[in-house]
């Protein structure tokens, strides 16, 4: 036995927090498991014993890309519990800040994560060498989304200005004007984004999905509406728990959410678009048609175009809101807490985000339930891979890996926050 010192100098890296295991036997797929081992963070338990007005700031910490979604679902759930309706300009400001989040989150995914897959680059940095103008346009566009969030929310990441009942502080009309100028550029850039993404090559891949999204009588949905699907679902957000259930499965730390009678379902831009095409602005509808899309799109790979159309819509909608804005008299409505249960569901960039809180008579949270979009899409992602891999099973493993990563990235899953988010293991037996 001999001791010795080994010099290493190795930089520790954040590991992929997701993995895909595929088992192939005689060119037939026999198993697909999408594993998410990002450690559970126990936010639902953290919320117990905190007051109702802390929920938007605590839950916003769940995600640095879509904090607004967490703030919006939580404030709507609390207002639902206490019987308060926020409307008029305060409601419009909430839509405006959500536009900012969609713009920054979608642009990040379209330009930095998804486009490199289509163009054959490992990441946007490599892509920038050959497509400097396009990557630059993406960065500028994302920045404008961030600016909206910063202006209304107080800062870009994890904003602090949202509260139950409204906001802590609301902007004067003249403070929004500079944004309008920038947004006109952004709307043009978004239009270019749609045209550009429509030129990418898409695998021929369509499935019979159940799309689930909010639907509002007049608007493309952000904060409210009924939960509807293309297979007959039409329920109030209050009934969510009667129709959907979260299942614990052994191979993943993320719960799988399923429809009680029909299993997997699909949330996010594609679902919103298919269920609400008629609620898009005329410009967004025209643009979709001009690049050859109909009002229904069942190819998840084309979600990159749909996401771009939603960026365009968000720019258009933000401009409309700013134009009609008048500073409200009060930044927030009074809230009188009492014992109640409140439900909230809003359209996060990645799909519906459901919150439910039980509150006691002092306004303390007794329990909380949060269902994020990625856990709702997880089963659909696995199903896609079951169908998709057999079409490409003869490819060498490295190419098959790229194809699978792209198929997963169609859903913009939250685990993609980590750059090397996926370890793919293909077993051929």
């Amino acid at each position: 036995m001999k001791s010795r010192t080994i010099k290493v100098d190795y930089l520790a890296r954040v590991e992929g927090e997701g993995a895909l295991h595929v088992k192939i036997k005689d060119n037939t797929v026999v198993d697909v498991k999408l594993k998410i081992f990002e450690p559970p963070r126990f936010f639902e338990a953290l919320l117990r014993g905190r007051t109702f007005h802390e929920a938007p700031d605590i839950t916003a910490r769940i995600c640095g890309i879509c904090p607004i979604a967490y703030q919006m679902s939580s404030v709507h759930a609390m207002e639902d519990a206490f019987g308060v309706t926020v409307d008029g300009q305060l409601r419009a400001l909430r839509r405006l800040i959500y536009c900012g989040e969609w713009i920054e989150s979608h642009t990040l995914h379209v330009y930095m994560l998804h486009a490199p897959d289509f163009l054959g680059y490992p990441d946007a940095i490599q892509m920038a060498k050959d497509y400097p103008d396009i990557v630059q346009r993406g960065l500028q566009l994302k920045k404008i989304g961030n600016e909206i969030v910063a202006l209304i929310g107080g800062r870009e990441i994890h904003p602090i200005n949202v509260r139950v009942g409204g906001f802590y502080k609301v902007p004067a009309k003249h403070e929004l004007s500079p944004l309008a100028e920038r947004l006109k550029w952004a709307r043009d850039a978004a239009l270019e984004t749609v045209r550009w993404t429509a030129t990418l090559n898409f695998p021929d891949f369509e499935q019979d999905y159940e799309f689930v999204a909010l639907r509002h009588p007049e608007e493309y949905p952000f904060n409210d509406g009924r939960l509807v699907s293309n297979k007959g679902l039409d329920i109030s957000v209050h009934d969510y728990d009667n129709h959907f259930i979260e299942e614990h499965i052994q191979h993943s730390n993320a719960l799988h959410s399923v429809h009680k009678g029909r299993g997997s379902y699909f949330v996010g831009p594609l679902a919103r678009y298919n269920l609400n095409f008629d609620r898009l602005s005329p410009l967004a509808q025209e643009t979709a048609r001009s690049v050859g899309l109909s009002h229904i799109c069942r190819n998840p790979f084309q979600s990159i175009i749909i996401r771009s159309i939603e960026i365009l819509y968000a720019c258009d909608e933000a401009l409309r809101i700013i134009e009609q804005y008048e500073k409200p008299d009060k930044p927030a409505l009074e809230i009188q807490p009492h014992a109640a249960v409140g439900y909230g569901c809003t359209e996060a960039p990645r799909g519906i985000l459901y919150h439910r809180y039980r509150i006691d008579d002092r306004g303390m949270i007794l329990d909380a339930k949060i269902v994020p979009p990625t856990s709702q899409n997880q089963k659909t992602i696995e199903n896609d891979l079951w169908q998709f891999i057999p079409l490409h099973v003869k490819l060498p493993n490295d190419q098959l890996t790229l194809q699978c990563e792209q198929a997963i990235r169609n859903y913009d899953p939250c685990i993609s926050c980590a750059t090397h988010f996926l370890k793919l293991k293909i077993d051929r037996v």
Partner: protein
């Protein structure tokens, strides 16, 4: 939230090296923590002890050198500097 994953990566790296070097035991592990690495030595130690359970690294002494200089090029990083091992000698 990323500590768990970072430290798992380190333990895996240590195990790989130990295997390559035919080590029978890891005596100590030396790491450098950058001033901006968002982890304190105590916090790192707790995670390390937890993550090394059941691996060849379990029970190894942990030496932590903190880089205090925020302008150091490695200030944001966690660096595995060296490991001391007992090596099986083949004759």
């Amino acid at each position: 939230m990323h500590e768990f994953s970072l430290i798992k990566d380190l333990i895996r790296k240590i195990s790989t090296i130990a295997h390559e070097q035919h080590a029978s035991k890891i005596i100590s592990v030396t790491v450098k923590l950058g001033a901006l690495s968002h982890i304190s030595p105590d916090h790192f130690r707790d995670h390390f002890v937890l993550a090394s359970r059941g691996t060849i690294t379990e029970g190894a002494r942990l030496n932590i050198n903190v880089i205090a200089d925020k302008t150091d090029p490695l200030a944001q990083d966690i660096i595995l500097e060296s490991i001391d091992v007992d090596v099986q000698l083949y004759t």
